[in-house]
Amino acid sequence: MKQKLCFSLIILFPFIGFAQEAKFRLLPYINGTTSIKNGLIEAGPELNWQKAEKGKTFMLRPTIRLPLTDEAQNLLQIDRFTSEWRAIMAVQFTKDNTQESGNISRHSFGGQIEYGYTDFKYYPLGNADSQQKSGKTSYDLELKYVGFFSSGSSGATQLSPQFRLRYAHDWAAAGETGIVNPPNSNGIVTVSDMIIDPPGVTSLFSPAFSLQIYPGKGSFSYSPAVYYDFTGKNDSDNPFGNLNRLRLESWVFFYPLLSDNSNVKIGITPFLSIRTKGADDFNKVEYGGMVTIKFGTTFLQFL
C-alpha cells in the first residue's frame, strides 16, 4: 500500500509548478512587475488606483511575455532570432463592502486579453533543406469573478464563489517525428527528430465554477470545481459543435505554518474528465489526480 502511494506521488510530481515573481514601486500608483513561470518571462507596469474609504480598487496591468532563451540561467536574449511574443492587458475592479464591524464581503471582477505572434518552423520533406516558416497570431480572452463572504468572527465559515469564462485560439507546433538518416561513411544509421507538419490551431471556450470553502477551523480549505470545455475543429475560430468535455475536481488545500514564509498552500485533488460530445484521443472517461504547491497565493486565488 505504501509503495503504491509513493509511486502515485512520483507520477503526480510533474504537475507541481513553481513561479518566481517580483513587484517594485516605480512611481506613486505605479508598480513594476516581473515574473518567470514555465520558461516564460513576463514584465510591465501595474497601475493601481484605490479609494479604500469607499471600498473601491482598480488595477490595470499591460505586460509583455517572452520565452526565456536559457531557462537554466533565467536569461532572455532579444535579437533577430526572437520568434515569439505575447502582449497582455489585465484589468481588475474590486468593490469591498467591509466596515469596522459586521460581515466581510467583497466582489472582484477581472478581465484579461492576450495577443501574440509565433514564428513556426517545420520540415515537410524531413530534411533541413526543406525548411518552411509560418508566422501565426494567437489570441485569448478571460473574464473572472471572485467573491468573498464571511460573518467576520472567530470560527466563522469563509466562502469564495468564483466564476471564469475563457476563450483561447492558440497556435501550436505539430509533434516531432523520427526521421531515419541515410547511413554515414561507416554504415551507421541515425535518427533525427523533426517537425514535418505545419502548425495547427483549435479554439477553446471554457466556463468554470468553483466554491472555495474554509469551515472556520483547522488548516484545510476545500475547493470543488467544475469545468466545461468546448473545443472546435482544426483551424476554426468557432469552439462549438465539435468536442465537449466535462471536468470535475475536488481540491483540498493545506496551509502550513512556515516561519517567515506566509501564504504557502499545498493542494491535492482527484479529477474526472468525461467526454460529452465528439471524439478525441482519450477515453470517454478519464480520471487521475493532481498535486500543487503555491507560494504567495491566498485562499482567494484559485481559478
Binding site: 469563509q158 488548516s219 496551509y255 491566498t298
Partner: protein, 104 residues
C-alpha cells in the same frame, strides 16, 4: 502601496503616522484597517501593506480586522515619528479571524 494621505486631517494640530500590516506565517487572506472609522487599508494578505498620513493630536482609534486560515500570524506596525518608538506586534488569528482596537 503606501499612500501619503490626510483624509483624517482635523482643523486642530496633527501628527504623522504610519501603519503597516504584514503576513508572517500561514494563510492570511485579507487585511483591513480603520482609523476613526475610516477605512485606510483593504487588501489581500500576500505581502506587507502600509498606510502613511496625518492623524489628529487628539486620541485616535485604530481598528484592524484580519481574515485568514486557522491560527496564521501577522505583524501590526505602528510608527509615530518624533513621538514614540516604533511599535511592532506579532499576532495570531483565532479560528481564521482576528480583530483588535488600539487607541493612540
Amino acid at each position: 502601496m503606501a499612500g501619503k494621505k490626510s483624509v483624517l486631517l482635523a482643523p486642530e494640530a496633527t501628527r504623522d503616522f504610519t501603519l503597516t500590516l504584514e503576513p508572517v506565517s500561514g494563510g492570511i487572506t485579507l487585511f483591513y484597517a480603520f482609523i476613526n472609522g475610516v477605512k485606510v487599508i483593504q487588501s489581500d494578505g500576500t505581502d506587507k501593506k502600509t498606510w502613511a498620513g496625518k492623524i489628529p493630536d487628539a486620541q485616535v482609534r485604530i481598528k484592524v480586522r484580519v481574515i485568514g486560515i486557522d491560527n496564521a500570524s501577522f505583524i501590526i506596525g505602528l510608527d509615530l515619528p518624533g513621538t514614540a518608538d516604533d511599535q511592532s506586534l506579532t499576532l495570531k488569528l483565532q479560528g481564521g479571524y482576528y480583530e483588535t482596537e488600539i487607541m493612540l
